[in-house]
Symmetry: C2
Subunit: 225 residues, 2 copies
């Protein structure tokens, strides 16, 4: 579809670009598969090396630690979301409709994007839902934040905040609303699967997307687009 498209990830996250070689792509592809299977805690570079038939030392030449690999994956995901958001809002003139589309894209269940063949977006989405908070709930956040590790996420939040301000320039909490929606949608999907008493399942609709669309438009006092 778009053969020359590539998602950029901040260079300070990796030692050597995983897009630059076959091994690099295997680390990312295999890393997504294995982290999805085992969870972040049980995932190790040793196990990944066995899975992709390479060695621990070779993986360490691409990523300093498994924490950096998680950062790489979440960053890729935020950049990919930003691109999907821009694409989904392009040429839509009505800002209410743009906001609807943005919230829907941020909260709905993702499916495969054939533009990026070495990344399984469904599995990556599951990793983001279950593990992404570990990428920033970490004693080293402040240092990592200084070197720009979270700029992709901030950018995404800023993009949607701008649409909100376009609809209601007086709204006081646009960033808080957007990050609440993004994080909330992830947590609710996790709860729906593991702790259903903490959420509400409604048959015949995507309750999570419905809920956050409703909350968002009511919060900014605008009728839904």
């Amino acid at each position: 579809m778009l053969p020359n498209l590539s998602i950029q990830v901040n260079e300070c996250i990796y030692l050597k670009s995983p897009e630059s070689s076959e091994l690099g792509r295997k680390i990312v592809t295999g890393g997504i598969n294995l982290m999805d299977e085992l969870g972040f805690e049980s995932f190790t570079f040793r196990k990944l090396a066995v899975r992709i038939e390479s060695t621990e030392a070779s993986i360490y030449r691409y990523f300093e630690s498994k924490h950096k690999l998680l950062l790489y994956l979440t960053n890729w995901y935020w950049s990919w979301m930003e691109y999907r958001l821009m694409f989904g809002m392009a040429n839509i003139l009505n800002p209410r409709e743009r906001l609807s589309r943005a919230i829907t894209l941020l909260t709905e269940q993702v499916d495969e994007d054939s533009n990026f063949s070495h990344i399984n977006e469904v599995k990556l989405n599951r990793i983001v839902i279950a593990e992404s908070s570990k990428a920033y709930q970490y004693k080293g956040v402040d240092d990592e934040n200084k070197i720009g590790v979270f700029s992709g996420y901030k950018q995404l939040v800023a993009t949607v905040s701008d649409v909100i301000l376009e609809l209601n320039g007086n709204y006081k909490y646009p960033h808080m609303l957007v990050s609440t929606v993004i994080e909330g949608a992830h947590i609710q999907r996790y709860f729906a699967e593991h702790l259903p008493k903490l959420t509400d399942e409604v048959t015949g609709e995507d309750a999570i997307t419905e809920f956050y669309l409703d909350v968002t438009f009511k919060a900014i006092d605008i009728k839904r687009g």
Copy 2:
């Protein structure tokens, strides 16, 4: 104040009750101090043993793992919150006022509760904000959930959901709203400290509590109490 009050934590979380001995209380008190200082990843039972001048093996007689200690702390916190909520809503007849008080208690910054002298609630609140998601975002959730490890949290969400349903019996997403508010308030406090671009700081008010009060009452179509 209430000298005979004690917060109950589900027995399956510990091997031996930390309330039952001096050492048990030192493990909890010291555990809170050290986990607040180091963060969950860098916290170890070996370091805690040095801090409280005991041994690793002795700590293991109370808690199977540091994960169980984190579960104990978060469970204590949810039970304590439930008690604060019940206390704060007691004898308030107007349900709008009850909901206001509940959301405020769930989202505001906590301070010391002199009823529980071996627990520092301010530090515990910081731990809950920074680490509590690691207590359930974990490959073993489903098994732990089966034995009732998260019932305190579910109970808390159910309590506030009931107030919402009292105000608007047709509201479709009471649990989703409450868990979004609780988790959201924690994440926003974390963002305010570490990733401020992801939130909004407004001078002269507790923006986080204000935001969630506003969102909650608008979501359920009720004027603020």
